[in-house]
């Protein structure tokens, strides 16, 4: 059971809210040493894996242009556009984004969304503005909740859309793994069997988004009544 000591370190570290970078590093060192590596070998293993996973950092390349546009008023403009639609609500904004994100991901167009390039500059400001227009002032706690929902909509739509596309990484991984075990499966079959879950995800999360609107309406009516 010695290898599991790293998992314990991670759980304790996250519960105690110690800086996650430090927690992860300590967990890695402990795990490595428990499995018989010496310290320098662990450091080298860290270096190697960090370098090979640099592709996750490429998304930061969008920050200069996103920052420039935000400075020029992109987020404010996104708010103004939403306030032009009388019928817009936070839940409708998020439902529309969820549907588009899930369908485009299913077609393999996973790069049409993302937290840095879509959620922060466009979707979250629109979702916030819809509630501001409808219910008046939005207190910070509620604002943060709307933002968290914007990020969640992106994640959930992506995860349960992309697996319907046959050339996505997870399908290729499943196929490769089963082939090593002497089982041949068709990517199209795997993609097909992702559809029932995709439909459940859509129904479950969209229901939650509709309920979110009710709870926002009640919450903001209360908050603004207290003030008046």
């Amino acid at each position: 059971m010695l290898p599991l000591i790293g998992v314990v370190v991670v759980v304790i570290g996250f519960v105690l809210r110690i800086n996650p970078l430090l927690v992860v590093t300590v967990a890695g060192v402990v795990t490595g040493i428990a499995s018989g590596l010496d310290f320098l070998e662990v450091v080298a293993a860290f270096g190697k894996a960090f370098i090979t996973s640099r592709y996750v950092g490429i998304v930061w390349l969008v920050l200069p242009v996103i920052g420039l546009l935000e400075h020029a008023g992109l987020r404010e403009r996104a708010r103004t556009v939403i306030s032009g639609f009388r019928a817009a609500t936070t839940s409708k904004v998020l439902l529309a984004y969820f549907a588009v994100r899930q369908v485009t991901s299913a077609l393999g167009l996973t790069s049409l969304g993302g937290h840095a390039q879509m959620v922060r500059p466009l979707i979250a400001p629109m979702a916030e503005a819809a509630s501001e227009n409808r219910y008046g002032d939005v207190p910070n706690a509620t604002r943060y909740r709307i933002r968290a929902h914007s990020a969640a909509a992106d994640n959930i739509a992506l995860f349960f859309g992309e697996d319907i596309f046959i050339a996505i990484g997870s399908i290729l991984l499943i196929r490769g793994f089963l082939e090593q075990n002497g089982i041949r499966v068709e990517p199209a079959q795997l993609a097909l069997w992702a559809i029932p879950t995709a439909i459940c995800a859509f129904v479950i999360h969209c229901t939650r988004l509709v309920l979110l609107e009710r709870s926002l309406r009640a919450e903001l009516a209360r908050a603004n009544a207290d003030k008046a």
Binding site: R54, V65, H71, A151, D163, T197
Partner: protein
């Protein structure tokens, strides 16, 4: 040919620029830490492919120490929402043009670059076409934005620095977790967990096996931060020997829904930092678990749905 390496250089140059802007900003009380942090990060992108693993490892340890001892800070920025609103009124919907250039060109590039060849050789590395398209789309969008808005020449890097400092250490957490996952794999964490599961959990009936497999995928993904790491272990440990061989289940249906059960776990764990922690930094949320908290109800309901779907279809 344009390869991933060139995109890394570009990212490294940006991180290096962020380090330099921080160095020159006296309004940030921790500017030395920020400079060191983004400077080291820049080196991993610029030179990472050529450095020995041990040197890269010490660069990483250096970043961790800089970020956790006294921590990173942020400079002061004077732009207000009123300034942004005034500028927004001036530019109107034109502001969306560069923003939407990024996703649209990325998608177009993903298709086009696979077909464009010069003298029989593709102009980009076809295996990495999506990220290379993203990088090129970003450069085009930046050019369009610069021509349109005509800001000072250094404005983009200063803006990048504002956003990257707001994200802070969370920006490198996904890579640290990938490194931890590699060490977990090396140490045999996977076999230890599936050993525990097969020893202690009831697996005598088909439904019990399906439930253990589905829950196992989710829990294991939460530990490793990644369903891809959980899938081989759980499928070799429980899926193939029990669901397929003993109870005669269909491996295609089991694997497809099993992977998606793992994705339910991804929604509930801080270990999947690029999906769950980075957005809280990007959206400036005070609670770093805010996104996870919102996702948990959907994840649990969907995990239940997955287990029922698998039980219903896998033994047809």
């Amino acid at each position: 040919m344009i390869t991933l390496e060139h995109v890394y250089w570009l990212t490294g140059l940006m991180a290096g620029g962020v380090a330099i802007v921080n160095l020159r900003d006296a309004s940030n009380p921790r500017r030395a830490n920020n400079t060191a942090f983004w400077g080291l990060y820049a080196i991993t992108f610029l030179a990472g492919s050529y450095l020995p693993d041990l040197v890269s490892g010490f660069l990483v340890i250096g970043m961790v120490l800089v970020a956790s001892i006294r921590g990173l800070g942020q400079g002061k920025f004077k732009a207000t929402r009123e300034d942004e609103a005034a500028s927004a009124a001036r530019w109107g919907n034109k502001l969306f043009i560069p923003a939407l250039t990024i996703p649209i060109l990325t998608v177009l590039g993903t298709f086009a670059f696979k077909r464009i060849e010069i003298a029989g050789a593709p102009i980009v590395d076809v295996k990495q076409v999506t990220v290379i398209s993203l990088a090129i789309a970003t450069l085009v969008a930046l050019t369009v934005g610069m021509l349109m808005l005509r800001p000072p020449l250094l404005a983009p890097i200063k803006e990048a620095r504002r956003l990257l400092d707001a994200i802070g250490w969370a920006a490198v957490l996904p890579q640290m977790l990938a490194a931890l996952g590699a060490l977990f794999a090396l140490a045999g964490v996977g076999t230890a967990v599936s050993g525990l599961a097969t020893r202690w959990l009831p697996l005598g009936t088909p439904f019990a096996a399906v439930m253990t497999y589905g829950l196992g995928m989710a829990v294991f993904t939460m530990i490793m931060g990644n369903a891809f790491a959980a899938f081989p272990v759980m499928t070799a440990g429980i899926g193939l020997p029990l669901i397929v061989q003993r109870f005669g289940g269909d491996p295609t249906i089991m694997s497809a829904i099993g992977m998606l059960s793992g994705f339910c776990g991804t929604l509930m764990t801080p270990m999947a930092a690029n999906f769950n922690i980075v957005p809280t930094a990007l959206l400036e949320l005070p609670d770093e678990n805010a996104v996870i908290k919102v996702q948990i109800p959907t994840a649990l309901l969907l995990l239940g749905a997955n287990i029922l779907l698998m039980n219903f279809f896998v033994f047809r």
